[in-house]
Amino acid sequence: MSLADLYREIILEHARHPQHKGPLDGPVTLQAGLDNPTCGDEVVVQVRLGPGGLVEAAKFDGVGCSISMAAASIMSEMLVGRTLAQVKELTESYTAMVSGQKAPTDDLQDLVAFAGVAQFPMRVKCAALPFHALQKGISRYEGGI
């Protein structure tokens, strides 16, 4: 396992130039923040649902390593146009891949770049952080909190 297997070009690119970063303008349907107290990474995810229950806009904000920031950036890009059920499916598929429980599948698209994380156990939390924040936001929304 070399460094380039973990830090794929697309990850470095998103870490350097994050997409969908900053506060979400307009109404916010669900949001949640999460931090990793052992390393100080922090991420906030905001999502707006539009007509038909599809994600209309998604943004993230935070500070962290290139793995967590790139994951948040690519995740935010991929959420738009999906239903919450599809978002949850994507989240499960992705977290299973980075924790080494499942091989990468095509539905993960650009997120497949994070497959190498499974070989770096200390970094799995970084890769999963934005998705765990998303999960927290969804369960709060669905629980009416």
Binding site: Y7, L12, C39, S66
Partner: protein
């Protein structure tokens, strides 16, 4: 004082096919263990294992003698008397013992606890809680430009209301030269305050004479000084320990128990309720002897030389920021690479067999003072050499190259 020590061969983890490739630069988190300590642990369990104080059989007497001999070794190492050495689980428990057993009995509203924003959480959070419980006020020593604590600023911050001064002698992030504790003790005692020194990063790395320091309490951990985990020490002055109530109540700390009320043993046993970490204490005693054999003045000179060398080499790399004092320092060097998160630095160095710590180092207020979320940190000990500094510098250069050029 040459300060050149090369004892890698004494450390089983660092020799052998895998270990030989390892550049271990995280001794500020925990130190590697020499063969003599590992052998002492195995010997105790193989030949001497019994509970201490309780048994009348000769095996128990042997275990008790070995445990008390360890206390004497630790006492000798810090120039204390054995009855001033309380065995704990580590620095955190030692400080908590003072924050509970001493502070809650002694502090009242209007009193001040003087500490700093450069402390490890283990020398800050217990005082936040003690302040909340007693109504005392937390005060912070103003930090110098490099965010270190200076004796002069401590002296300036001590007031008539100060009841306790709680400071690390060496910061686990900044690697400052050790505070001259005797000067702080003198000023604190003049206003009737006591002094607690967090010695987690100093006791393992320099000659310590607690009586000369005149501190009332010194807390430190065994595992950072080549001993086992699960053992630490609270040194306390005899008369303060005598007046202080126990912290853990239960077996072996009592002298007489009636159904309604009990009396307690004298210090240090009254602070050591329950079966103590016997093997760990014995291992710590052996670690103290091992370090004394190296000569602590030499250990300090060695760690300083490597720390100063690493800091000056890293400062020469464009885009690298080194925190803490310029020039003289201990063997702890925190740094960041422009545009690369400390965790990414640590993963990249790990790929080259270099173990550094990355994160906030249990010092979130200090990270805010430094204006960063996290740093990488290299720390040195007697098994490190100049070659390790070379590997670190080369590793940092190639990490910079990877994140800024190759993958662009």
């Amino acid at each position: 004082m040459s300060g050149r020590i090369d004892r890698r061969q004494d450390f089983p983890l660092l020799v052998g096919p895998e270990g030989a490739e390892l550049t271990y630069l995280d001794s500020a988190a925990t130190a590697q263990k020499p063969e003599v300590v590992l052998a002492a642990l195995a010997h105790y369990y193989r030949y001497d294992n019994a509970n201490v104080y309780r048994g009348v059989y000769s095996l128990a007497a042997r275990a008790t003698a070995a445990f008390e001999a360890a206390r004497e070794k630790v006492a000798r190492f810090i120039h204390a008397d054995p009855d001033e050495v309380v065995f704990t689980r580590g620095t955190t428990e030692s400080i908590n013992m003072v924050a509970w057993a001493w502070a809650r009995a002694e502090l009242k509203p209007g009193d001040e606890i003087l500490t700093s924003e450069a402390e490890h959480h283990s020398n800050l959070v217990p005082w936040q809680e003690a302040a909340r419980a007693t109504g005392a006020e937390l005060r912070f020593v103003p930090l110098s430009e490099d965010k270190t604590v200076s004796v002069d600023s401590v002296l300036g911050a001590i007031s008539q209301r100060t009841r306790i001064v709680a400071l690390a002698q060496v910061s686990n992030v900044l690697g400052n030269l050790p505070l001259e504790v005797a000067r702080i003790s003198e000023a604190a005692h003049r206003v009737g305050a006591v002094v607690l020194i967090d010695g987690a990063q100093s006791v393992p790395h320099l000659p310590i004479d607690v009586h000369a320091m005149d501190a009332d309490f010194v807390a430190f951990s065994g595992h950072k000084m080549m001993g086992p985990t699960g053992i630490g020490v609270l040194y306390g002055k005899r008369q303060i320990l005598a007046a202080m109530a126990p912290f853990h109540f239960g077996g072996e700390m009592i002298s007489h128990v009636d159904p309604e009320v009990s009396t307690y043993k004298d210090a240090p046993q009254k602070f050591e309720g329950g079966t103590p970490p016997i093997a760990q204490a014995i291992g710590l005693g052996v670690a103290c002897d091992y370090l004394s054999g190296l000569d602590m003045a030499q250990v300090m000179a060695h760690d300083r030389r490597l720390g100063e060398l690493a800091a000056s080499r890293l400062r020469e790399v464009p885009g690298v920021h080194v925190y803490g004092p310029r020039g003289d320092r201990m063997g702890v060097v925190s740094f960041n690479l422009d545009g690369v998160h400390a965790h990414d630095v640590a993963t990249a160095l790990d790929q080259q067999g270099i173990c550094v710590r990355a994160g906030h180092h249990c010092c979130q207020p200090l990270m805010r003072q430094l204006g960063v979320a996290a740093t990488a940190r290299a720390s040195f000990y007697a098994y490190n050499t100049e070659q390790d500094v070379d590997k670190l510098t080369a590793g940092v250069l190639s990490t910079m190259e990877f994140f800024h050029h190759v993958a662009r």
